[in-house]
């Protein structure tokens, strides 16, 4: 099950991101325990778990916003420097009102040099880079629109351009599909898969539902109660592995190319609590999988 064999699938190149036994304690509570996984170049990895499982904490550790209590984050085989700009980050939501004067191209340009001091001088090279990146995410149409007035999917694409314009090797996306309608969801997923392959980028996407990502993910990191299991979908999303991860019985059901993860009784011991859980969470998981 949970192994670090992604190096094998990516040939000889070492993983771009490697988490090595990360543990996090916050105010006396253990949030993450011995988290190990890696993301190789050109690889798209789904970080899957329910709310509160520890996905965001993993992101904060990788971004350097939170120091782990134990373990190391390696980027390109080296310990993560304190100020690292080789990681692109797309948050779940951005805080901009519709009438704020910031165009898509301004936001993308901030991805290039937003950390610098002073007011930027007009530069042809800068503009070309921004235009190129807006084109790459298919956002040229609303390049001059206010970011706040765009739809969720459009904002997501502009933020992806913002994260990519500085040419990072690693891209992190925090629940990029959470607020999207079905069609935008599909568009964003396809865009990410294309960019990962074209640019040889390591992409880590967090999501509470694996199904929209199924066609494109190379591997899955499943998070529950601060523990992770990583590997290919077939290796990880199985009744045995997830039962061990969750600490109670879950059933993995494959249905028309989708995967339902359902708490409930199986072959093993089925105490009344598990039955109760199964009864309660069945409809919920069905809805989440649609």
């Amino acid at each position: 099950m949970a192994d670090l064999a992604q190096g094998a699938s990516a040939g000889v190149r070492p993983p771009i991101l490697e988490l090595d036994g990360i543990g996090v304690w916050l105010s006396g509570r253990e949030i993450l325990d011995d988290v190990k996984f890696g993301v190789g170049p050109g690889e798209l990895v789904g970080l899957i778990g329910s709310n509160g499982a520890g996905k965001t904490t993993i992101f904060r550790v990788v971004l350097g916003l939170l120091a782990p209590s134990s373990g190391r984050v390696l980027i390109d085989g080296r310990p993560r420097p304190r100020r690292n700009r080789s990681v692109g980050y797309v948050p779940q939501k951005i805080a901009l009102d519709p009438d704020m004067p910031l165009r898509s191209r301004d936001l993308v340009a901030l991805g290039l040099d937003g950390h610098r001091l002073g007011v930027p001088l007009p530069s042809r090279r800068r503009r070309e880079l921004v235009d190129e990146m807006l084109h790459a995410v298919d956002a040229t149409r609303f390049a001059d629109s206010r970011v706040g007035s765009l739809s969720g999917g459009e904002q997501q694409r502009v933020m992806i351009a913002h994260a990519l314009v500085s040419r990072p090797e690693l891209l992190l996306l925090d629940e990029p599909l959470a607020n999207l309608d079905l069609r935008s969801e599909q568009e964003v997923v396809e865009l990410l898969a294309r960019i990962a392959k074209e640019k040889g980028l390591a992409v880590l996407i967090s999501a509470h539902d694996l199904n929209p990502l199924l066609p494109v993910v190379d591997r899955v990191v499943y998070v529950a109660h601060g523990h992770v299991a990583s590997g290919t979908t077939d290796e990880v999303v199985t009744t045995e592995v997830l039962t061990r991860l969750y600490g109670h019985h879950v059933d993995v059901i494959r249905l028309h190319g989708r995967i339902l993860v359902v708490a409930g009784q199986g072959r093993g011991a089925d105490p009344p609590l598990a039955q109760e859980l199964g009864r309660l969470s069945n409809p919920l998981d069905d809805i989440m999988a649609v």
Partner: protein, 324 residues
Amino acid sequence: MGGFWSHVVEPGFFQSQTVQVALLVGGVVAAVSGVVGVLTVLRGQSFAGHALGDISATGGSGAFLLSINPLFGFLGMGLAAAGCMEAIGVRRVRGRDVATGIVLGAALGVAALFLYFDTTFHSTSGAAITVLFGSLFVVSTSTVPAIVACAAGAFAVVLLLYRPLLLSSIGEDVAAARGVPVRVIGALFILTMAITVALSAITIGAILSTALLIGPAATALRMTRRPVTAMVAAVAIGVAATWVGCLLAYDSFYWPPVQHGWPVSFCIVAVIFVSYLVVDSARWHRLRRANVPAGSQDPAAAAARPLHESSTHDAEVLGSPRTD
């Protein structure tokens, strides 16, 4: 210069030294307020800006009590309050609002006490009016260098931190992920806001200082999609409003009811407010015109609509599926 102009600009306007100081101070302060104001609105800190204005009234009234220059009272209290607000609650937006509210309440209570002492012990009944509502025509010449220096300092900080400030207005995590020291930047900005508000308090009074900080900025945001253009527009609107306000106040010596002049602060704020109404209604009309073709079946007209202001985008925000 015919008879009409001599009525608009009453004789002696430009020769009066009081007016010269007022135009200089008002112009400088309005310019820096415009630049800082746009970033304040972008960063969603309008409430903090308003609170800093009210809080600096405590410093201004204290300065009257101690017979020192009110500018230093406004400045000292504003900076201290900004430091407190930053120290109490920076982690979350909501925490910041609560922290601001607590500091604001306490400071206004002290201001009430100081103003009471001012009027009872010093018999300076004008203190309350001057601190709270200001008067550009009583700014002393000796204060001018300090005002210009403060304004230049605030201006320099904002220009230097322009990009990191914009970036962290998108989201603090985004900025931190790009290597921006978000806390330091945020603290420097709120201190800059405190300086700007103190200058504004000298110009149009502590209570009205928000009008100069937020008013021109809010008007400018309605006019443009670019942050730099918005700043330039806010500066232009602020400076123009201040100067026109001075002119109106000067002219108002010949106005009813008492032929004693209207408060200059009122005149400035009135001009700011009217310019906001004019710009906003112009935008509203433009939007309404632009949205008419949306109902028709003419795809060329629909495509010609400016995307950033089209109603389809508003609809998408509400989650309706796209049809194009």
